[in-house]
């Protein structure tokens, strides 16, 4: 009897209580250990599966660490040029109003090089979902200072800590977007604890539902971590996130639908 057959016997009488959704490929994630991207990918795809919209969902990936999102999300994906994800999503949604469209962007992509696209997409009230992964750093290129880097936070291009007199405070673009009449639902969640993961999933679920109802732009900021860029262990990074990121980026709904 070989090892595989032995395993089959062991697992034969067990019930499946938790498994990979069909909407996720079984490719091995390239993300660093402890990175929040993997969790958010899974949440997105769980929601897509639960709503049974796999065939009508189109995602737009950014340039940055999640440039490879198409390897994992088993739906139609396109990677846009750096910062242009929400603009590309606009084009898709305008010609395919029945499709469910989301962009998935990091802080550098969404709040630095893509600021104009982000603000105008929100202001037009495009009926899409924008998922904003905020880990306060450029992970892909080697840990440079990002628009959301915290005051005094050390990165490779703020070696003595971010100096707000020199480069300003972290950009709270989510609050900024909530001010625009075009946005329908704006919230900030995190994936650093099981409780927060559940809240994050609810926010994503709501956003997809709103889009299916033809409501306006939904914007979900996910406060995430970057153990490699922050030079911490995954556990340390989640603790650091709780103690440092969340005071600056407080969790919760920033704008709830006015017609509910």
């Amino acid at each position: 009897m070989n090892a595989t057959a032995e395993l089959d016997i062991q697992f034969k009488d067990l019930d499946v209580v938790y498994e990979r959704p069909d909407t996720l490929t079984d490719a091995r994630l390239h993300y660093c250990p402890g990175c929040g991207h993997g969790v958010v990918h899974r949440l997105l795809m769980e929601v897509v599966e639960e709503l049974n919209i796999k065939d009508r969902t189109i995602g737009v990936a950014p340039v940055g660490c999640s440039v490879f999102a198409y390897n994992y999300l088993d739906i139609d994906m396109q990677e846009a040029a750096h910062g242009r994800a929400s603009a590309a999503a606009t084009g898709i949604k305008r010609v395919f109003p029945d499709k469910i469209v989301f962009s998935y962007q990091g802080d550098g992509d969404l709040a630095a090089i893509g600021t104009a696209e982000t603000i105008h997409t929100a202001n037009r009230g495009e009926k899409i979902l924008v998922v904003f992964i905020n880990n306060a750093i450029y992970g892909m290129t080697g840990g440079q200072m990002a628009p959301t880097t915290l005051d005094n936070m050390k990165t490779s291009t703020s070696p003595f800590g971010r100096n707000p007199d020199h480069v300003g405070h972290p950009l709270k673009i989510t609050e900024l977007l909530a001010m625009l009449p075009g946005t329908y639902y704006v919230t900030r969640v995190a994936v650093n604890s099981p409780r927060n993961v559940r809240i994050a999933k609810k926010a994503l679920l709501k956003s997809f539902e709103y889009q299916m109802q033809g409501k306006g732009l939904c914007f979900v900021e996910v406060v995430s971590n970057c153990p490699s860029g922050w030079k911490m262990t995954p556990v340390e990074s989640n603790k650091w996130l709780e103690e440092n990121m969340l005071p600056m980026f407080p969790l919760g709904d920033i704008k709830v639908p006015s017609d509910e």
Binding site: A81, H82, G83, A112, Y138, G142, P147, S158, P159
Partner: protein
Amino acid sequence: MEAVQSMVRIRSGNQMVAEGALRAGCKFFAGYPITPASGIYKLMIDMLPGRGGVALSAPDEISALAYCVGASLRGQKAMTATSGPGWALMIETVQYALMTETPVVIAMVQRLGPSTGGATQNAQGDVLLVEHCTSGGYTIPVFTPSTPIECYELTHIAFTWSELLRTPVVVMLDKEVGMTSEDIDYMTIHDLTTLSRQRSIQRDNGKNGAMDTYYFENPEDVPSFVPVGGQIKATVTGSAHNKAGKLQKNSPETLEVLYHLQKKIDAHANQMELVKRDLQDGARTLILSYGITARTAREAVRRIRNNNGKVSWLNVLSLFPVPANKIRASLHNIERIIIPEENFGGQYRSVLCNVFDKQEIVGVNKLGAMITPDEIIAKVV
């Protein structure tokens, strides 16, 4: 005390670009993260503030170059560093710098394109994109180092020409040249003279004693520099303008300014020519290389000569304006020119085909992998 004979350190091309810029008196740097040019950005952030300069993080490449132009309009030597996708965004401001005669240096570390392409793959595919980025087809001086020492020297030289001609100048590396570290001897760096743009003193243009921001006598002349915020009123516009820097449609003076932008570069093209030559008597083949392919070419030349073959080698350091005189002077008895390039069309070959029609020009081209010496040797007569 004994004189220092050597000072060997391990340095990458990117590091030496940063050090060359500091040596040239660069006082302003703005950058945005992009592989494979991020090393220059990081080093300038680390080194420049301690040397009395300003290093800024920009929200994108559009801003990065615009910051530099602003600093340069005030008179500071400024530089940014990027790769293909960032260059695409910078083109607007490159043209603005050219039109407003604002010196600025751009270190452009090529990666595989088009679009986001391959961030960590080498290529020499941006040669024509860089050179032909202006509406109107103006010459952008481009220098192409192949070693860390050349990175240092050519960045310095790029600053010099940028200052003297008041025009944007590109130091074009490729990923292998920028990110490969090797031991270099600082004592082998050539003596470099640091020059800066000529500043303007109060001058009369014959019109009520008023000063023209872009006053020149002959179209080949470079106007002396009037900093914004100085004692002389300066007017700067990216629109077609007369010598006073005022927007005009197509007055004779405005057209004269448009011709002048190219003529000032043409007039200095001979002086800008930079090549390294290793010619052999009796050789009928010349290998012409630039950037990383120079390293392959050097090895190909060594192998050919070890086998008693004859070959000449020319490494082009000033890609544009095309160093036609120095190339021509290397073509005695040459029947075939081999140009290895890591791009599929032979971009520099297509430029030289228009200049040299007596020789057969052959390309060795490859995408996504480095050209090997044997691939060059196979094309030698």
